[in-house]
């Protein structure tokens, strides 16, 4: 009886009041050796499979990488030009320049097997500067955000989890939506989409940057189903995450630039400071 009461108490405090966040961090770091240990057989297997590959296979892979690198450097050059141009245009418009963000690569430690929630554990924690709510992506698109922190590990909530929602916009025309997880690994749902919305199958949804958690413009999902049944109050829209959520291995952690608004442009603030200085000078006189 006491035990049941205890768990009821824990459930209440953890779920409704979220009062265990710091304690959870400690517990998380406490059990991290167990997670590392459970992960070793898999690591051994991957190590073995990576070491026991044939020479021919390696040469082929190497060639493929070389071709890829060539293509990517070419794209990078283009990107540099476009970036410079974009910065010039932005300075013309007096809006803040985009700063390059800090990035860090993380590896998945163990895929969580609780069927009720979609979470993964990564091998970066508070010691590496990870913070709660940090955006996590892979090479294709947004994967999720950091949920709980440990010292050397942390837990990532995937975008497909039931309790997760992420603000997105349609890349084609900029209409804003919210992508909610459905609990299925290959499905996101969109609630409250009016029938008149211009949305089509195959539209790419990118982060809108609203809400301040995710940086703007990263791909999230592709629309797979639009059912504009007039008998229902809203259109039924379903999309599929761009990132291959069931095949994750290496992830990218992002440190977004400091929040900037369109109104706080650089020249204006300079003027303000100048004015203040002159006022102060007057006061001194």
């Amino acid at each position: 009886m006491l035990v049941l009461f205890c768990s009821a108490l824990f459930i209440f405090f953890d779920h409704k009041m979220a009062s265990f966040d710091t304690a959870r961090g400690y517990l998380q770091s406490l059990v991290s050796p167990l997670q590392y240990m459970a992960n070793t057989p898999k690591q051994l297997l991957t190590w073995a499979s990576e070491n026991i590959t044939t020479r021919k296979h390696l040469i082929e892979e190497n060639q493929q990488y070389k071709i890829n690198e060539l293509k990517l450097t070419q794209k990078l050059l283009e990107l540099d030009i476009v970036k410079a141009e974009n910065n010039r245009l932005r300075s013309l418009l007096a809006s803040p320049l985009r700063v390059t963000t800090k990035k860090m690569v993380a590896e998945i430690l163990s895929v969580n097997n609780d069927p009720y929630s979609h979470q993964i554990v990564i091998n970066r924690g508070a010691n590496d500067g990870v913070y709660e709510g940090q955006p996590v992506l892979d090479e294709k698109g947004i994967v999720g955000q950091v949920l709980h922190l440990g010292t050397t590990t942390s837990r990532v909530l995937l975008i497909t989890d039931l309790t997760n929602a992420i603000p997105v916009r349609i890349k084609r025309n900029g209409i804003r939506l919210i992508a909610t997880g459905s609990g299925n690994i290959d499905r996101l749902t969109h609630n409250f989409v009016p029938h008149s919305t211009d949305i089509r199958q195959g539209d790419l949804l990118v982060t809108s940057g609203l809400g301040g958690k995710f940086p703007e413009g990263y791909p999230v999902a592709r629309v797979t189903l639009v059912d504009q049944d007039e008998s229902r109050p809203f259109a039924h829209v379903v999309s599929k995450p761009v990132a291959e959520i069931d095949r994750l291995r290496y992830l990218l952690l992002l440190w977004p630039e400091k929040k900037t608004t369109i109104f706080a442009s650089k020249p204006k603030t300079k003027k303000h400071t100048v004015k203040k200085v002159t006022l102060k000078n007057k006061g001194n006189h």
Binding site: I11, N112, N113, L147, L162
Partner: protein, 159 residues
């Protein structure tokens, strides 16, 4: 709990915890047996004086932390299942191996249903039949786990 080689109990439980979070291919992952529940049930039937509901609760709590679910969900479910096993330990001991396996599968079903009910109540998860796949695998695993754990108990003279 630690007297008379009781440390082996802790070791088996730790192993069960590790098997619970070990990464597996997605297709097999849904069939992962409830290792901790199986090991807990064995010890509570074999040595009810050493392993009690509180141990079960603590282990369930560790599972909660490991899986990142809401704290207390697995703890409560584990405590209830082990309570049922511990109260009827004399009956269950006298059953044959396959009868025991049936009872364990029923306990495992109860365990998963309790966690599902709690999660449904808290965050509205929809029911999927795949949540009950571990019941089958637990049923198949139990006889082997039972024989292995009995061997461990006899070899290390855990009383």
């Amino acid at each position: 709990m630690l007297a008379n080689n009781g440390i082996m109990i802790l070791f088996t439980l730790l192993l069960a915890l590790m098997l619970t979070i070990m990464p597996m291919p997605i297709s097999v992952d849904a069939f992962r047996p409830d290792w901790v529940l199986i090991v807990m049930c064995y010890w509570s039937i074999a040595l009810p004086t050493k392993v009690n509901i509180f141990t079960a609760w603590v282990l369930g709590f560790i599972i909660d932390v490991l899986l990142g679910s809401i704290l207390g969900v697995h703890a409560g479910a584990m405590a209830i299942c082990v309570y049922i096993a511990a109260v009827n330990f004399q009956k269950i001991r006298n059953f044959s191996l396959w009868q025991q396996a049936l009872i364990i599968s029923i306990l495992s079903a109860l365990y998963h249903l309790i966690t599902f009910w709690l999660e449904h109540f808290l965050i509205n998860v929809p029911f999927q039949i795949s949540y009950l796949y571990p019941v089958m695998s637990s049923l198949i695993i139990w006889p082997w786990a039972f024989l292995l754990l009995r061997k461990v108990r006899r070899h290390f003279l855990i009383k």
